[in-house]
């Protein structure tokens, strides 16, 4: 396998052979083309950054806008881009070019083995994560790491897995996924505040309501695919948000809903009172208890999403989703009801968003339409695309990189020592977000994990039939 792969890798080099059998000549050739590339890139960068960085508008004391130039910075950035391009051309570039020409890389044995170990290891890590953080940071520093990192990332992992059903498996491009997240959040907030129902009763209810809205969206878009579907779902997401903004009587508009009841530990609230969690279990009160509890709730919800998806993929409905992604006409001619298949995909995806939404409301204690803008849908979709459509492990890794990465930008205080005290790394979050996307798409155009695991193997079928025989005899 590897031998054939290497041979395929050599092929593109062969035509270059006649240019010079002497290695030195070829090296000079390559250097020259790299320098040329770098010069073109530098020119492009200069043109692009000239208006963006070269000029700056400054408001002076008399409130007048004046134009300032920043030539040194512009030249520094252009030089950095040129040097970066040159380094890329001389090192990584040729290797990447070769890889692209190769057919699907054959998975080697060690990779399959590592893949088998990866999931249990990752689950063990996330289960032990709060304990690890407390050991490393002490209980005061741990709050931030569990809340901002752990819970935040897991919410997006769950949303990514939910959207993965719709986009990755069923192939229905949904740009308004955040609408169902909002439905779940507002369902929990309103029902909990109005009727005083508990989190654990409202969680499934929020899921059901969200999936109801999923079906509602599904009906009008049944005949649409691709770009057209994307536009309608985008509009749907905006409609939900605008209704939340304008229906002030119900949703309190932009002001949002505050004082949303927090989840309790089997009826025991997390507060400093006498019947609070800390008092009942004889612990010293700490806000960390609730955070850890919330962490495990979202972890359980996320794992439930993953488990259900894995199971569904092996059932007729899951296989029908994937077949629908591949070819709708063939599906129909094989007796698959594509209407129901699409609606179940929308409903399932929406249900998990509803779960995540009600968890979000319970965790924040406050929600407003600001949390459910299009950028959220875009973030979730980019997590699914970057992770590799349909791959659950890929989606989880992408969520860690994208959400964890942007969160970690808040923590890079040491950069102030380098760039001066006025440097605020959080301002560059979106820049790095975009950069990460571009890098992933260049290196892995089909997402981090593009391999699709077959949902059925011949071996499995044999064991099943053997079981049936045994049952029949007994």
């Amino acid at each position: 396998m590897s031998a054939s792969g290497d041979r395929a890798g050599e092929q593109p080099r062969a035509p270059r052979g006649p240019a010079g059998p002497i290695p030195a000549a070829r090296a000079i050739d390559r250097l020259a083309s790299s320098v040329r590339e770098a010069a073109i890139t530098a020119a492009l960068a200069f043109g692009l950054f000239l208006p963006l960085i070269g000029f700056e508008t400054v408001t002076n004391m008399r409130n007048e806008v004046t134009l300032k130039t920043r030539w040194p910075l512009l030249f520094a950035i252009t030089a950095a881009v040129a040097i970066g391009r040159l380094a890329y051309m001389l090192t990584l570039g040729p290797a990447l070019g070769r890889r692209r020409l190769r057919a699907a890389p054959a998975p080697s044995a060690w990779r399959a083995r590592a893949g088998g170990l990866f999931v249990p290891f990752a689950i063990a890590l996330v289960v032990l994560y709060p304990a690890l953080v407390i050991v490393l940071n002490g209980s005061s520093g741990a709050l931030k790491w569990i809340d901002n990192f752990g819970i935040q990332i897991l919410i997006y992992v769950m949303l990514g897995w939910g959207l993965n059903i719709v986009v990755g498996l069923a192939g229905l491009l949904d740009l308004g996924y955040v609408a169902f997240y909002a439905v779940g959040a507002y369902s929990y907030a309103l029902l909990a505040k109005t009727f005083g129902l508990a989190f654990w009763i409202l969680l499934p209810l929020a899921g059901i309501l969200a999936s109801f809205w999923g079906i509602l969206l599904g009906f009008p878009v049944l005949r649409l695919r691709g770009d057209y579907l994307a536009i309608v779902t985008l509009a749907f997401g905006e409609i939900i948000r605008i209704v939340l903004v304008n229906w002030v009587d119900l949703t309190n508009g932009y002001a949002g809903i505050g004082g949303i009841p927090r989840p309790t530990f089997f009826g025991i609230p997390f507060n400093a009172g006498d019947d609070g969690f800390a008092a009942v279990f004889g612990l010293e009160f700490s806000p960390l208890h609730r955070t850890i509890f919330l962490y495990y709730i979202i972890l359980a919800l996320a794992l439930l999403t993953a488990y259900v998806t894995v199971r569904l993929r092996r059932l007729p409905v899951g296989r029908a989703w994937e077949a629908l992604r591949e070819d709708e006409i063939a599906c129909r001619s094989l007796g698959i009801n594509t209407t129901n298949t699409k609606l179940t995909a929308f409903a399932m995806g929406a249900m998990f968003a509803g779960f995540a939404g009600s968890f979000f409301a319970a965790r924040q204690g406050f929600i407003s339409p600001e949390s459910f803008t299009f950028i959220e849908s875009a973030t979730i979709l980019s997590i699914v695309v970057l992770g590799g459509m349909g791959s659950q492990i890929g989606v989880a890794i992408a969520a860690v990189i994208m959400i964890g990465g942007t969160e970690i930008m808040r923590e890079l205080d040491f950069l102030k020592d380098i760039f001066g005290q006025t440097f605020d790394p959080t301002q560059y979050r979106m820049l790095f977000f975009g950069l990460a996307m571009v890098v992933i798409m260049v290196v892995r155009p089909r997402g981090l994990i593009s391999r699709r695991e077959p949902s059925v193997f011949l071996r499995e079928r044999k064991t099943i039939s053997a079981d049936l025989v045994k049952e029949g005899r007994g």
């Binding site: 007729p316 296989r319 029908a320 994937e322 077949a323 992604r325 591949e326 070819d327 006409i329 063939a330 599906c331 129909r332 001619s333 094989l334 007796g335 698959i336 009801n337 594509t338 699709r452 077959p454 949902s455 059925v456 193997f457 011949l458 079928r461 039939s465």
Partner: protein, 242 residues
């Protein structure tokens, strides 16, 4: 003769305002291989698609196994065990060969899966080595075999094949036609074959229909049609040289 398995009576079909079928009558009896030949754009594929309910006939009646299927949606027609290997194969490219075959068995009894799979692999041994391979990586001939095999997994009473020889090498065409003959003889599957390769199709079929401009112009026993001068001149020029 007994009542036909499939009967098409006075069927017309429109694409928007363009009339593709202008009143088609056609019968297929249990156990037959019937072929429909005709030039490009004669309406052969349209007739096949109309039988499957996509698009639906504007006028006329299509009866299958004693049931009016003219207005049924495609997936319900498939559930009556009228299977179709559509034009252009339309296999699922990212799913494995085995998964493709399993999708074909959607409407079949799951208890029959193992036996049907074995039969399909017996007919198309090349698929056996490719079971774990993605459908999109197969060669054209293998994809055609997979498309037919997938349709067979639903244990059809009537199998509709739309141009199975399209774009295949002569040797592969012969293999596919041989498989169709075996299916009909050994498994008793009734086959309706739409073909441009008139010579092979008429040699294989019990009966044939010739379609011109959305109308059936000729019909008869396969070998008799082969000898008809108008068929010879229109569809068989040079075909024998293959």
């Amino acid at each position: 003769m007994s009542e036909p398995l499939l009967s098409v009576r006075g069927v017309t079909t429109f694409y928007g305002r363009v009339q593709a079928l202008k009143g088609v009558d056609l019968d297929i009896h249990d156990g037959e291989i019937v072929t429909l030949i005709g030039a490009n754009g004669a309406g052969k594929s349209t007739l096949m698609m109309t039988i499957c309910g996509n698009p639906q006939a504007r006028d006329g009646v299509i009866m299958f196994a004693g049931r009016d299927i003219t207005r049924l949606p495609t997936h319900e027609i498939a559930r009556l065990r009228l299977a179709q290997a559509p034009e252009g194969r339309r296999i699922f490219p990212r799913m494995t060969v085995l998964e493709n075959l399993q999708m074909g068995a959607t409407v079949a009894d799951p208890a029959m899966f193992a036996r049907d799979l074995e039969r399909v692999l017996e007919l198309f041994p090349r698929l056996k080595q490719r079971l774990a391979q993605r459908g999109g990586t197969l060669s054209g001939g293998e994809q055609q075999m997979l498309a037919i095999g997938r349709a067979l997994m639903s244990r059809p009473r009537l199998l509709l094949l739309d141009e199975p020889s399209l774009g295949l090498a002569p040797l592969l065409v012969r293999q596919i036609f041989e498989a169709i003959r075996l299916l009909n003889q050994q498994d008793g599957v009734t086959v309706f074959l739409v073909e441009q390769n008139a010579y092979h199709a008429l040699k294989l079929a019990h009966r044939g229909y010739v379609m011109v401009n959305g109308r059936i112009t000729l019909s008869g026993k396969g070998r008799e049609l082969l000898e008809r001068p108008e068929v010879k001149s229109a569809y068989l020029e040079g075909a024998r040289l293959q």
